[in-house]
Symmetry: C2
Subunit: 391 residues, 2 copies
């Protein structure tokens, strides 16, 4: 039996390492480029005692309780529902854009005419992509859709992705649908939790297994090669290489760089108890930045903290050489990037001992719950492969 190497210690790498170590009782080495575990879920207490998610706010949201059940092995979870406002035309309005937002944007008198139409067109109080409003046959609904799209979606999207909405994949735009009721939860998932002591603690416990060795601050790409139809590590054969980083970089970007988006996050401390009316505020119309997070409002327990920190997100292109966008966050899914990804995916398929997993390697905009579920599924494939080799 050869070596098993996992590249990356976010949810994909962390979960696969743990499952291999525990269920298959095999030694695993986790190689992590950064000086900490947990990928972009990494959090830490700042000098004011406030627990900061260093790579932007992460909320666990799912309709599938099994996701939370899985995580509960490694940490206590506490209910914490992501709440947002959006600032439009200088006023706080509700996000998700819902029936309250309708009243806030067009006034209650006009809303009195529009709400019955929305209820009739979209019964059941679900969430509806803004495109369904923009393309609706009813003129009032269409007008509202256009207003919302122009005031919120177009400007936000162009900042967030550096692209016009028409250029980005529809699935990305549809991630922030309108709620056809008064639901105030940013995401309409039944189970919304945070790890009681933070994500880093969760990952620490997940990776705390005698079969797991973690190597921080080591760039796996300097070790990985391909030889004889197999991925190799330091020129030596490995039984299984699991890679969770950007797929293009695994192959030296030979077909060109896949676009990923990054965030430049700036922090400001205020000697006050509260700075904004919700944990997060979205600024579709502001110059440069998209969102602010007040982490004190996110923390499960802020007792003993005084003052508050606002983290402001400036989306930037991912560029490992740059000073600001050094970590990849989101795949920028467009027609072009989809085609390019496909080429890398086909290339990866040539190596039987290579397994890709996660947002960066699969080039898919997974939420955390989808990432966890997908990784557990992926483990089934890895397991079958490893057991097949043993026989």
């Amino acid at each position: 039996m050869g070596r098993i190497v996992v590249v990356g210690s976010g949810f994909s790498g962390g979960i696969l390492a743990r499952k291999i170590a525990e269920e298959l009782d095999r030694p695993v080495t986790v190689i992590e480029k950064r000086r900490h575990i947990g990928g972009n879920m990494y959090d830490e207490y700042d000098e004011h005692g406030i627990l900061i998610h260093r790579y932007g706010p992460h909320f666990l949201n799912t309709d599938d309780w099994s996701v939370m059940e899985f995580l509960q092995q490694f940490t206590a979870l506490v209910p914490r529902c992501a709440k947002f406002y959006s600032v439009i035309d200088g006023k706080y309005v509700r996000l998700p854009y819902n029936f309250e937002t309708v009243q806030q944007l067009i006034g209650p008198e006009k809303a009195a005419g529009l709400l019955p139409k929305l209820r009739k067109s979209f019964p059941g109080g679900g969430r509806v992509p803004v495109s369904a409003l923009v393309e609706h046959p009813d003129e009032d609904i269409r007008n509202y859709g256009v207003l919302l799209f122009e005031k919120a979606y177009r400007t936000y999207t162009s900042k967030m992705w550096g692209l016009q909405p028409e250029q980005i994949d529809r699935s990305v735009l549809d991630r922030v649908p309108m709620a056809m009721n008064y639901d105030e939860r940013y995401l309409n998932k039944d189970f919304q939790f945070l790890p009681e002591k933070g994500y880093t603690e969760l990952f620490k416990n997940m990776l705390a297994h005698p079969n797991i060795t973690v190597r921080l601050g080591d760039d796996a790409l300097r070790h990985i090669g391909f030889s004889g139809g197999e991925a190799v590590y330091d020129g030596e054969p490995v039984e299984c290489l699991i890679y969770t980083g950007p797929i293009d970089e695994l192959f030296g970007c030979r077909y060109g760089r896949l676009p990923y988006r990054s965030l430049d996050i700036r922090y400001e401390y205020f000697d006050r108890e509260s700075m904004q009316p919700s944990m997060m505020v979205s600024y579709p119309q502001a110059a440069g930045y998209t969102r602010t997070t007040e982490y004190r409002k996110v923390m499960p327990d802020d007792s003993g903290v005084s003052g508050t920190v606002i983290a402001t997100e400036y989306p930037v292109a991912y560029d490992p050489e740059s000073g600001t966008g050094m970590q990849p966050y989101y795949p920028v899914i467009t027609e072009d990037s989809g085609r390019l990804y496909k080429k890398y995916e086909d290339l990866a398929k040539r190596y039987e001992n290579l397994f890709l997993c996660g947002r960066l390697a699969d080039y898919k905009y997974y939420n955390m719950d989808a990432c966890i579920l997908h990784t557990l599924e992926r483990f089934g494939v890895v397991k079958a492969y490893l057991e097949g080799k043993k026989r």
Copy 2:
């Protein structure tokens, strides 16, 4: 043309007086027993600069924009949505009891089994009376209904009404239904507002009409009599007597007292910015009191206020002779009281110039919006009567 007298200056008396004065251009005298206008909507600033609703929290809620449009003649309205928590088994849980409350009361793991059943049984995310759960064919739904009923409804009802739930009219219990979604608004009405400068200001403006004379601190019952098939005032004939007080007292309680419920409200000031997590908190299991209101959270503008006041409601029987329950708030609608009311109603019908209107006189548990709409309708009847007399 004879005299027009209106007894009471709440929404029923206030609106009818205004409409008669303005639309019919007739002089009206408003007789108010208390030393202030506005009935139980009366509010005033306390010594800390906090605007207190002296007879318990009043939120304007309606699905009918015309109600707000009508009120806007007299005051600016600002959006303000009533938000509650309920304390059950020592924990804050969401009120309205909704899907979040399900998770809070039975835990997310069990909720993961129950929520899909609730969604299937009650599609559309509406509000459902607790009785529909208690009597449901599915055992899990029924068990949850019973749990909710026993932990929240039974105890609250018995305190609130001084009766067991079985004794009170179903419509009263059904006033606090469960939300089959995550709606956090206490009432599921589209338009939720407060008068920007308070209710007293609203009533002041409503009654500020050259045709209206208001007499405060005068008990109309000492003036009203019945003679020759007509209501009379100080022994003199009146063209029209509009009465908005308790119907039984109008007739000297001759068939016995109709039960009304009252509140004994106690105030406590705290030198803190905030005392509770929502404007109002419901305590179904507490001894004696039902709700607390933190008025600073209710006020449209609390800038410049320091400290906060908690008002605690102790429901008591209405008894004009008692020290605590001197104002009638709610009709206690039961089979017995319904029969008794009917006798008074039949009696009132004998007097052509007598018009009853409002919660106390109609013995109906109107919300403010229903009261306003009903009063506007009642005005049509009064108008037809007065114009008929003129012809």
